[in-house]
Subunit: 417 residues, 2 copies
């Protein structure tokens, strides 16, 4: 595939209208939407209105007149269909880490002290494992990490309280079978907690269909809610009324404006709200979900998923063909793949310097200093296209072939970060 | 004092230049800055830049180039002098409720299970007491609430782990003697945790001078950070390295980008960061602190405090004189008063309906449906003036004298809220 081929494919893309709903820097190939999603075109004006009208003019009245008080639930309702959940089951609040803390405590309470082990993967995003360590310790239990997905099943024993997994692995882009692993966990008497940070908005999710127990996820990756956008949390309705999550802030109270002395949790997911939410950041996420409404009319998650798989498939094929020695870490099997591609370069090629050289040519992917193996490229089907695939691989091929990465300005930066 | 007198006083106000740094609706008398601060004039353009340039154009690079990664610490450093703390000791993160959860857990850990009782006031803002109930229960202890400040001292016994107080009471505006109560608590072997939600930016605070143990507070009241602005947290440096707070998210890790498997807390206040912060809301708070820089040049907290006391004194005097039967709940003694005035109306006068009638005339104060006694008026010395005092009392006097509140549109609203 060359750039002409790619442009033809992009012109025939049934989702191409979505690209126009984003503002991206001219000439940039942005393949890091799995880390921070792009800016929807409508967001600046909407946020200006929130600041100047709702805050500046409406002031305290906007809690009612601008609907601030309902925003966490309203955003949850808008997200629900993309998660396979129903309206009223999802809440937008706090950060992914804070929401994970809430649901893990709730899950361990449901186990009533009979089971205290949380099982997860060492390759999970670190914050999930750190939070799980803290919660397990608070309950007198422990976090056990597996090295390979194949090692999970043997740990689902009578000690296992919770299987906590990130649906799509942030490093490799490998996707778990949520239905199968949830069933295994529950058959063993454990609860299934899913982190959807790298899934929401990019791959089909069916929380109710898989009968998972809890889920949390991030608003600023494929959902395009803006830097540090608030996160979401979901609980299966069968757990309603069984437990209290420990962050018992006033907005999770059954009657927050009665100013009772004692905490009484609100029914359902509302009890997972804690303090007053950051409304400007919430408003940016609200606007971002308008793009998802537009996507729904163009085929919804099925169309997004098909495009995502075509992009990652094309990228993997081109990398294998044109980057000698690249070892692709992402599954070729579409059923096991999220919406990103990761690969390692041959020994002797400084991955960080390669990424810096790519960035200097206007191609942005991700490389973590603490993980000096993998170059990672996210494909956001809303705004990435086949031309992005070609431009990225063209640049990569040339940088490797000419050793353009082997320059002091790229190498030295890899040492200070 | 009539409007001419008030205008003369306002014209002579050494802080009058600060009023011009805010945008307020034309003709509105806004006396609810203790609930949601007004919009600084510079905020819309700054936020537009954050959205369009930092997010839209800078994308992932803005974590470094726009300084997003340091923002929680940088905001803390900017706040520190207003709290009597040093740079490096304060962090802006999460919500007030979430930060209280962190510091209460830390405080109870410091007591090593020897003491498990948290003492506070029933009239505390509910979220504080709800969070304290949760934390006390997690440690096998309990929350004991006093009805009157005078009842605190007898409870500072060998069971008391933490004295948790809000410096300025949200209902009455009564201010505690932070130095004295901290000393009493510590002499009894307890730790002192202060909620500065209704103090920060409005009254002098000396955390290091009083040697308090922990403090938290709110960014959206007198600090004008915008609706739901992130909150702040402070820990006395003597506790550094002694304890872990339980919300062990990756940005509180000693080396967050090393992606270690095990959590190791960062030194100092940095470990109180958890997940990725809501950067648009953080940026609004950053801009709001520019107004505090301007205030510093005009006399700082001393000048703000003097003006605040003059405004609340004038308001109380006028209410006593012109609103028959009003029972002022706020201390007349300046040493016991924050920056608001609360009073109850005589039996038979519907306080909620009175507040609705005031709002209809362009005077905004606060009235909580769950607390059907007190009308509350906050005086933000940065943008309120003596003319606001006169306009509010003129409207109030007329509404009471003519029973203008006794109309279906005001009364009926008091029943549905």
């Amino acid at each position: 595939m060359n750039l002409d081929d790619a442009n033809r494919l992009d012109a025939a893309d049934p989702l191409r209208a979505l690209r126009e709903l984003f503002t991206l820097p001219e000439g940039l190939t942005y393949l890091d939407g799995n880390s921070l999603g792009a800016l929807p075109r409508a967001t600046p004006a909407r946020l200006q209105r929130a600041v100047e009208q709702e805050w500046g003019q409406g002031l305290i009245k906007s809690w009612n007149s601008a609907g601030w008080i309902d925003l966490p639930r309203r955003l949850g309702d808008r997200l629900a269909p993309w998660l396979g959940a129903r309206p009223g089951e999802v809440l937008v609040a706090d950060s992914t880490s804070v929401n994970l803390y809430k649901v893990l405590h709730a899950a361990l309470q449901l186990q009533q002290g009979q089971r205290k082990v949380i099982v997860s993967e060492r390759s999970n995003f670190p914050t999930d494992n750190y939070i799980a360590q803290s919660v397990a310790r608070a309950h007198g239990g422990e976090l056990i990490l597996v090295e390979q997905p194949e090692d999970i099943a043997p740990l689902l024993d009578e000690r296992c309280a919770v299987l906590m997994l990130t649906h799509v692995n942030y490093r490799t882009g490998r996707m778990h079978d949520m239905g199968l692993l949830t069933r295994w966990a529950q058959q063993a008497g454990a609860l299934a907690v899913w982190d959807l940070a790298h899934s929401a908005g990019a791959v089909p999710i069916d929380l109710l269909g898989t009968a998972a127990d809890f889920a949390i996820g991030c608003g600023y990756k494929y959902l395009n809610g803006g830097p540090g956008a608030p996160a979401f949390v979901w609980m299966h309705p069968r757990h309603d009324g069984q437990i209290w999550q420990p962050l018992t802030g006033w907005l999770g109270h059954a009657s927050p404006f009665d100013f009772d002395s004692d905490y009484q949790p609100a029914p359902g997911i509302q009890q997972y709200q804690c303090g007053t939410p950051p409304l400007l950041s919430m408003t940016a996420l609200d606007t971002a979900l308008d793009v998802y409404d537009a996507a729904q009319k163009l085929g919804g998650i099925r169309a997004l998923r098909n495009k995502s798989l075509a992009l990652t498939e094309a990228f993997m094929g081109a990398v294998e063909e044109r980057v000698p020695g690249a070892a692709i870490a992402t599954p070729r099997d579409a059923a096991l793949r999220g919406s990103q591609v990761s690969f390692a370069l041959p020994r002797g090629t400084d991955g960080y310097a390669v990424m810096q050289a790519l960035i200097a040519r206007g191609v942005i992917g991700d490389f973590r200093a603490g993980d000096p193996e993998l170059l990672r490229f996210g494909f956001a089907p809303m705004y990435n296209g086949f031309a992005d695939v070609v431009r990225a691989v063209d640049a990569l091929e040339d940088i490797i072939a000419t050793r353009a990465w082997d320059r002091p300005e790229f190498i030295s930066r890899s040492k200070v970060t």
